[in-house]
Symmetry: C2
Subunit: 505 residues, 2 copies
Amino acid sequence: MLSRVRSAVAHLVSSGGAPPSRPKSPDLPNATSAPPAAPPQAPRSPPARAGSGGAAPARTVEARASFSRPTFLQLSPGGLRRADDHAGRAVQSPPDTGRRLPWSTGYAEVINAGKSRHNEDQACCEVVYVEGRRSVSGAPREPSQGQGLCFYYWGLFDGHAGGGAAEMASRLLHRHIREQLKDLVEILQDPLPPPLCLPSTPGTPGSCDSSQLVGPQSCWSSQKEVTHESLVVGAIENAFQLMDEQMARERRGHQVEGGCCALVVVYLLGKVYVANAGDSRAIIVRNGEIIPMSREFTPETERQRLQLLGFLKPELLGGEFTHLEFPRRVQPKELGQRMLYRDQNMTGWAYKKIELEDLRFPLVCGEGKKARVMATIGVTRGLGDHNLRVCSSTLPIKPFLSCFPEVRVYDLTQYEHCPDDVLVLGTDGLWDVTSDCEVAATVDRVLSAYEPNDPSRYTALAQALVLGARGTPRDRGWRLPNNKLGSGDDISVFVIPLGGPGSYS
Amino acid sequence: MLSRVRSAVAHLVSSGGAPPSRPKSPDLPNATSAPPAAPPQAPRSPPARAGSGGAAPARTVEARASFSRPTFLQLSPGGLRRADDHAGRAVQSPPDTGRRLPWSTGYAEVINAGKSRHNEDQACCEVVYVEGRRSVSGAPREPSQGQGLCFYYWGLFDGHAGGGAAEMASRLLHRHIREQLKDLVEILQDPLPPPLCLPSTPGTPGSCDSSQLVGPQSCWSSQKEVTHESLVVGAIENAFQLMDEQMARERRGHQVEGGCCALVVVYLLGKVYVANAGDSRAIIVRNGEIIPMSREFTPETERQRLQLLGFLKPELLGGEFTHLEFPRRVQPKELGQRMLYRDQNMTGWAYKKIELEDLRFPLVCGEGKKARVMATIGVTRGLGDHNLRVCSSTLPIKPFLSCFPEVRVYDLTQYEHCPDDVLVLGTDGLWDVTSDCEVAATVDRVLSAYEPNDPSRYTALAQALVLGARGTPRDRGWRLPNNKLGSGDDISVFVIPLGGPGSYS
């Protein structure tokens, strides 16, 4: 996320007073009008940690902006310095000697901290135990019901306009997911369909027997079936929202600067859930076949959502922007002429007579990596950005950003996976210069050079992917073998084996 | 569209005064804030005609509700009576002896008018000539520039809550498309990319030379490329909107009752444009392969769009509905308990504590063919419905409905089509009981029984598809060979040959 926010850091505006406990405006499209109350056990923000070699910094803006890397990298002070060296752009991976990541997951990153100190990618990989919060029935828990759940968790967080959001999300998002799953521990392990209604407090017998399921005034002929899988999806979606709300609450006290894209994988009870908010990407490479597991959320892919919001809530445009899209900036001298445009309902283009308000800046402009919302930000989903304002203005951009991920589900049990089948997660630093097919070719090339049961093969693959996107220094730049420029952005890659040693454990 | 509107006919409310010329409320999501002004040549509503055998009825509600069928069926008074006979449910097609439909298109329908007199499907098939409105450059037209354009047009219109909208759309929508294309006649025939800006009036030299294309204050590094194809898509999208606006204007004078789904195909300059607003469906069957050319717009497929609008504009819910979805109706005695819900941001489900406002009726409820918006209507896109209100209420439903189609483009020149490759259009009466695969099997079975150059084979195929969905009278009902109930709805089918005799002419 090197260049996706223009002039934003210079325009971060701290709010003057303490933020309200739930600071959502009713204008926000990504806020729930009646969301479940945050559980009292909701994760609190622990102090930030630098890499394992560094001491916990003091609580100042300077300290928060200091350089930190994922704990699992086990970086020594020297390794931390090397990672921080933009000239060298060292590729970092967890050491071969230490404890391996779960499932022998491979990881590699290159952080160009010298160029974008405040925007480093962050990563997290954890095994998380979820203890049930209470018995569904309200009856005293039997020992067999006391079994908790484990989920495996991988997350990539690509920061922009400050490093705080990515760093905070990498420490806390999985805890929010755990909180959301606590109420579901029994339900998810019960082969029966989830109950539609639960008693309010433990000990209160449920008054939701099936005789009440369809009232006479209902237009339903039957109740809707809700699957276990859709409960996990809902838990992940709400965890993203609660993470975002926590960032809003703590943005002053903890200096949560900027925002971040979040790409998260949860493995639970045989299924892989891939949740993406931003422009990172996940693909499965299975027997050479590419299965897309996410899509990117950018001003181009979300144009109609953004335009609709600007149309329905014109006050969010502040008289400075128009919700219409034009193929280029309209000039004052073109008033009265006819120019191509698109509105929130159109995928095609048509001509319209230029009027005065069409001279406003378009809400969405630019193409590809240069596309921007309000001339500022190049991604439309993610966490944070509560302080982000339009350049030279106080107009907030957050109402147009969604913190909700799209969640795709992959059932691991439906296919016999071999050790060469992998799920690859990468930030845009990888995908900007590497196609899905090129990644699949690298998967084949690298993994075939290692024994199937060699657990280091996935780290070697992650390193190869990062190196292939970074390139080597040549001709005054980092260049790929085809002499094109490599990615000057942070590059972070997880390679998760779907049938390798240690999977499913 | 037999049962997709509940109790709606009984609740049609005529407005008290003359409607304004552009009666769009700023609340409407499907209205353009700065739409191109309706051209002075915009189609006016000609008198309705009954089938060719019938005289034009007088201008009364009774007359408008009378039974009319597409002119191209060339129905005699006797044929019209047979079509109107619900007991017989005769399959009607254009006569073999008359003028064939363009491209030897096949058509068949069965209209159960006795059961739903006000909701008949309507159809239209035309070759439309578009004369250019003016020269793009403003210079006097040279003879070679005077060449107009022809497009081929097929439309299916499935009415609900009254027959007026479907009947009006079948007579006028292609004229709106023609109007939108008039300004594009020269541009579409010019191999150069479309100009981004046009002079306001003929004779005014364009001041849009390329030196002005990027202003210094612009965030664009270059102008956006707009294709000819996307101009045609925009023309079709705007034609749908203008058709809908005309229905709103004329609803009192012409008694435009109800609404309709619209599925329209335009063939122009080598490409097939399939525009769908509603729950009809189009598929291409090519060498046995199925290529979907549309998707359905229903309360289920558009749930999140509807919920977002209800959330952003709660006044549209009138205090009677909640934008949240529940898997069944919430009971007052369940207050304080926790029930599964989804909001506009969620695809998964989660539990929330039931509060007082959750007892309101959900904006979206039901499943499959029983899914409804505001307990009333089962489709979420289409034309008309300006008078549709919630049962026992004055709350308008139209703000939640979109008149905009999704347009998919198929390039006929990219593949060598054989006479057995067809585009099949059908109203939901066909697809409710027939899968895409079953249609493809029928295509293969029927067409292989005819010589490839026999132009009657496509009508035979359309008849077979309609018969297969209707079934035969048996065991007190219309039954399919597998003894399941056939479709009790109107069934209309076009079979458009993509490589047959007469195509591309």
